[in-house]
């Protein structure tokens, strides 16, 4: 199955081919962690995770066509 991944701000440096939005093929049962590990994003990189627009934990299981957003957290004001 395929999920849409979007990386915003500093975390964008882990995007393949410098694309901030891309589709990724993942196996059934894949979680947020699967995607994060595949992209090579280390645990030390600060990030907020939104799955279909809602905050998600790393063990959340992905479904086909899910939209996963990983962003560097910064302040609003």
């Amino acid at each position: 199955m395929k999920v849409e991944v979007r990386l915003i701000a500093f975390i964008q440096k882990y995007a393949p081919e410098d694309k901030s939005v891309f589709k990724m093929e993942v196996k059934k049962g894949a979680t947020v962690t699967t995607v994060v590990e595949e992209l090579g994003i280390p645990d030390t990189e600060p990030r907020l995770t939104l799955l279909n627009g809602i905050h998600a934990k790393d063990d959340a299981v992905l479904k086909d066509s899910d939209k996963l957003l990983l962003l560097t957290p910064i302040e609003g004001g």
Binding site: A9, F10, T49, H55, L71, I74, E75, G76, G77
Partner: protein
């Protein structure tokens, strides 16, 4: 004096008299400047129970000891007065280029008292101050006024002024500077309008003297390197995306208030996100004086329906003119922001008041006859029109100009006003982010994200994440962050830089960096504890004013919605604000009585008198 200019200007508008006096070094040391200095004069010289729109109210503009020193982000000032919106004290902060120029005139603060008979403006040219007739600019917008006053004074002069909203005493009118920068909240612009003071125009030629220039230069260079390293060699995220970046973060935790806080997530959030703002509308980042960040947004809208060019919007303006009104049309949000700036109004209060009107209409408590037509969620054109009508108090805009509380109360349903102390909440949902709920409930100025931005540790992970849904330790942390915010607002620097670079990276935000910079600038030889205590002193001085103005525990609360209606959506579905569980702990940590009044022991510790 070093750091401080050592002079205060007093302008008696009733008599048209101006005099200069020395800044008391002890007062400067204890209250730092800006918000603290303004609060000191208010407590000393004004009856807290006065009518805020009467000549009795004081309007104080004050810079801090780091304003204009080249300390990174040291380009800010405060406008302090009793608020006509809340009846409490207020201090509205602004950046841009005006504050530094103001300090270079040689004055730390200007105290306006009384009221002029006809419109006037204050012109300070290289230390010489005079009141001038402003009849020709009365009624003009912020952009028109700024251009006219620059053309008749000095090309390099900087202008702070009110627009029609301030003249018309819209209860949330702003004092605008450099056209697009706003000391926005609580109606400081209405106070200025009530005094018939249209503008303050400044041109300075003095340097801010530093006690130890070599040390100061070294500190500056070190802190700028630290900030650069923090950004991993990239431009800061705030420069790339602006504060609009907050849309995604808040949406993610169910804290993007939508349709007058009836929801905490917005289905159209991606259309109003930082990506859309950056890709479609951003022309270039704007900087305040001596700022290494550049979070200001120079924007342009091509869409003929909402055409315009200017600055903004910030996250809070997006929330208030977008999701909270059910509006996902970014071009219209930017346009409404331009209109509010040009008429001189707080975008947050005007947007949330409009959202309140929309809910009253949705529930049948406001009719089309009263409004002059339908008022549907997300009607982008009507939103822009209503913002304009509010600034001019035209038609239904006259009722919007009174703010959410008075509007909802006049319809018999004050529970639909999303306010604390009658001031509109900021763009955080207190049921999803508990610390912000306590911070807003206990904020001296009412609803605000700028009296303790606990979202830093509850959402953004600065200095580390303490989850948004828990309440453990929140009472203590809110108190500490409120006091730290006072230090920021008193010294004249920006929150965004200070939280990362002028305090230690611990939840207690110990003001070590502040102390080093203050000592190099002023030579006042502060200890870190004395600087921390100054922040606490200012917060308690504000509390004393508030108590004297008749406010107490009953006013440290949130709307009924946040306390009684479970969150209907998002990751915190079913949650309520746990404010009642935190408030007693908060008062106890502060050394206040159960009624929220500072105890005698606390006042003595801080050197304050009732």
């Amino acid at each position: 004096m070093n750091g401080w200019m050592g002079k205060v200007l007093r302008v008696n508008l009733t008599e048209g008299k101006i005099k200069e006096e020395n800044l008391d070094p002890e007062v400067a040391r204890d209250y730092l400047g800006g918000r603290g200095l303004g609060m000191y004069y208010l407590n000393q010289e004004m009856d807290a129970e006065c009518d805020p729109l009467s000549p009795e109210n004081l309007l104080i503009m004050a810079t801090g000891p780091l304003t204009g020193t080249k300390a990174p982000t040291g380009g800010r000032y405060m406008v302090v007065a009793k608020s006509p919106l809340t009846g409490s004290v207020t201090g509205s902060n602004s950046g841009g280029k005006f504050p530094k120029e103001f300090k270079k005139t040689g004055y730390d603060a200007i105290i306006f008292s009384g009221a002029a008979k006809g419109p006037v403006y204050l012109w300070i040219d290289k230390g010489k101050a005079e009141l001038r007739d402003a009849t020709h600019v009365w009624g003009k917008t912020v952009n028109e006024t700024t251009d006219l006053l620059v053309s008749e004074t000095e090309p390099k002069a900087k202008v702070a002024c009110i627009g029609p909203a301030g003249e018309n005493r819209v209860l949330f009118a702003a004092v605008m500077n450099d056209k697009d920068r706003a000391a926005a909240r609580s109606g400081v612009g209405a106070v200025m309008g009530s005094k018939k003071l249209k503008a303050v125009v400044v041109r300075g030629d003095k340097k801010v003297k530093l006690a130890d220039p070599d040390k100061f230069r070294e500190l500056r260079s070190n802190v700028l390197k630290k900030y650069k390293d923090m950004n991993q060699g990239n431009p800061p995220v705030l420069r790339q995306f602006g504060t609009a970046h907050g849309v995604a973060g808040n949406q993610g935790i169910g804290s993007l208030p939508t349709r007058n806080f009836q929801q905490g997530t917005f289905e159209g959030w991606e259309k109003v996100s930082a990506q859309v703002l950056t890709d479609k509308f951003l022309k270039k980042p704007h900087y305040c004086s001596d700022c290494p960040i550049g979070c200001g947004r120079g924007t342009k809208v091509e869409d003929p329906e909402f055409q315009g060019e200017g600055e903004g919007p910030e996250y809070e303006s997006i929330f208030a003119l977008g999701p909270v009104c059910g509006n996902d049309n970014m071009a219209s949000i930017i346009k409404a922001n331009y209109v509010a700036n040009n008429l001189g109004m707080d975008t947050m209060s005007v947007g949330v008041t409009l959202a309140c009107a929309m809910e009253l209409y949705q529930r049948g408590h406001l009719s089309e006859e009263e409004i002059g037509g339908p008022l549907e969620w997300g009607d982008a054109k009507t939103i822009v029109k209503m913002v304009e009508n509010t600034g001019y108090r035209r038609g239904f805009g006259d009722r919007l100009a009174e703010g959410s509380y008075r509007l909802a109360d006049s319809c018999g349903h004050p529970e639909y006003a999303m306010v604390v102390k009658k001031q509109e909440l900021a763009g955080y949902e207190p049921r999803s982010i508990q610390g912000m709920g306590l911070a807003e409930a206990t904020s001296p100025i009412g609803g605000s994200h700028m009296r303790a931005q606990t979202a830093y540790f509850e959402l953004y992970g600065v200095p580390k994440v303490i989850g948004p849904t828990g309440i453990e330790d929140k009472a203590r942390l809110v108190s500490i962050w409120q006091d730290m915010t006072c230090i920021i607002d008193c010294t004249g620097v920006c929150y965004f830089f200070a939280v990362r670079c002028f305090v230690d990276p611990v939840l207690e935000v110990t003001p070590t960096g502040f102390t080093e910079f203050l000592n190099a600038a002023t030579g006042a030889d502060y200890t870190v504890e004395e600087v921390r205590l100054a922040g606490e002193r200012v917060f308690n001085a504000e509390r004393l004013f508030l108590v004297n103005a008749g406010l107490s525990r009953k006013d440290d609360t949130l709307p009924k919605r946040q306390l009684e209606e479970p969150m209907p959506d998002g990751p915190n579905k079913g949650a309520l604000s746990r404010l009642p569980e935190m408030l007693d702990d908060y008062y106890a940590f502060r050394g206040w009585t159960k009624d929220g009044i500072p105890s005698d022991e606390k006042l003595e510790e801080l050197g304050l008198k009732k």
